[in-house]
């Protein structure tokens, strides 16, 4: 049985700010599987129902409709929710977040009627992370006038090197997005037409404001049930929680990592990524079935913006050197290799699928490549694996 508090069968979130926003995919297209598949395989879907408490002593769940359910094994796959900002005007109509299908439907309502964008529509996006930039790309394609406000001095400041941030700022600017950095929003005001203000008296008018300032793991149920929680539900390499009958997987968990190269990680990680959720789910399912499949995969991520395919292998935390293969200043295709003491930690690959797959293997097989070769475009990256 799967219990979810949304009215939809499990769906893919990555297309939400992209193909779904653009109208290229609809509700059905983004379902992970059609509802009929669950029926066919005897999986009961309980949608629109929320678990309000776990009783780990009786092995029961309490639902918001008053029902009580027994379990032998429980998997907490509660994900994460959008971080809300606590600003005056943050609750005004037209101030939106982007995490769920309903969030994007809500955004679309403010863009225009029946999927058509109202001419002259303006959107202000608060937060220049991946969600903010992917949304900016899609809205620009739809003809919306987009401004991105970032608090730091560059976009993607938390996740990439400045070379990569500069690249994305250039591309978005070329595509017509106004990117403003070092902007700390102080409040939002207005009706119908909203105005986003900062402390310096600047203001940005918008028909809608989209806030993308990160997520918070959904750990409250686990915490209330007395499970160990620290920046996510604490799990071991088998995705088992501190309770023998409860496993957990995905964005809501904090798991051990064998990525010794990233010594800053302290041996534990909480990842916000689909591939991680998929891998953890396999491990958790094995544990439920009393099999042992330790989690040992390398993190990777992707982001599509305009005709850019960014694929990221590894985690760059702790890097002391960035090497660029290709031209990040003019073209739309390059790799940023992140190294620490000469050892590869991660690679941001923009329109470089080959280097991405090579980087994944270099990382998992712990192969060291001469830095001069990493940036030498005359060498086929396949050679690095030999």
């Amino acid at each position: 049985m799967i219990i979810g508090d949304e009215p939809y069968a499990p769906y893919q979130r990555p297309p939400l700010p992209k193909e779904f926003m653009l109208g290229q995919k609809d509700d059905r297209d983004i379902l992970i599987r059609p509802e009929a598949t669950y029926d066919k395989h005897g999986i009961e879907l309980r949608l629109n129902q929320q678990v309000v408490a776990i009783n780990p002593i009786e092995n029961t769940l309490a639902l918001d409709n008053g029902e009580k359910l027994d379990y032998d094994k429980l998997a907490l796959c509660a994900g994460a929710r959008a971080r809300k900002i606590n600003l005056p005007g943050g609750e005004l109509a037209g101030v939106c977040y982007l995490r769920s299908l309903d969030d994007v439907k809500n955004i679309k309502n403010y863009l225009g009627v029946n999927g058509a964008v109202t001419p002259g529509c303006r959107a202000v996006i608060i937060g220049g992370g991946y969600i903010g930039l992917e949304t900016a790309a899609a809205l620009t394609k739809l003809g919306v006038n987009v401004t991105v406000l970032e608090m730091q001095d560059r976009v993607l400041a938390r996740v990439t090197a400045s070379e990569v941030s500069e690249f994305f700022q250039r591309v978005h600017t070329e595509e017509g997005v106004s990117i403003r950095t070092n902007i700390a929003v102080s409040h939002i005001e207005g009706e119908h037409l909203l105005t986003v203000c900062n402390d310096n008296g600047e203001h940005f008018d918008a028909n809608l404001v989209i806030i993308g300032v990160g997520v918070i793991p959904n750990v409250e149920l686990a915490e209330a049930a007395g499970l160990a929680v620290e920046n996510g539900i604490t799990v071991d390499e088998f995705d088992c929680t501190s309770n023998e009958n409860i496993v957990a997987a995905g964005d809501c968990t904090n798991h051990p990592t064998s990525l010794l190269a990233n010594s800053l990680l302290g041996g534990r990680l909480r990842l916000e990524s689909v591939p991680n959720a998929v891998e953890q789910a396999k491990t958790a399912a094995a544990s439920i079935c009393s099999q042992s499949l330790p989690y040992a995969s390398y993190p990777w991520f992707w982001s599509d913006q305009y005709d850019l395919k960014l694929q990221i292998a590894g985690l760059n935390q702790g890097f002391d050197q960035v090497l660029i293969r290709g031209d990040n200043k003019h073209g739309w295709s390059f790799v940023a290799w992140y190294l620490k003491e000469g050892k590869l930690l991660a690679a941001d690959c923009v329109n470089r699928p080959k280097e991405f797959l090579v980087a994944k293997q270099l990382l998992s097989r712990e192969i060291t490549v001469d830095p001069a070769k990493l940036v030498d475009e005359s060498i086929d990256p396949k050679i690095f694996l030999q």
């Binding site: 893919q12 990555p14 297309p15 992970i32 599987r33 059609p34 598949t37 395989h41 689909v274 591939p275 998929v278 990777w300 992707w302 599509d304 395919k309 694929q311 329109n351 699928p353 080959k354 797959l357 090579v358 396949k382």
Partner: protein, 99 residues
Amino acid sequence: MPIIHYIEADVAVGSTVMQGAVDNMIDGILAECGGSCSCATCHCYVDEAWFDKVGEAGGTEKTMLEMAMEQQPTSRLSCQIEVTEDLDGLVVRLPASQY
């Protein structure tokens, strides 16, 4: 005793070979990226008799396949094969490494 897999699945026109596999809970096609040609976990071998109808990989997919494990001449990423009426009866196989 040898294990023989007989698998047939109905897939809607306009869907992809990958989505058809996921919808039918077929093992061996993970499709981590949900069909955005980003991960190469839906690699398949198109049966030679069908390869002309399915066609060759292009662009990003071709580059991804070059680096995929156990690439063969009829390799494709199944998320990039759109299902059409012409593909009624299509046969694809999966690389052993995906099990």
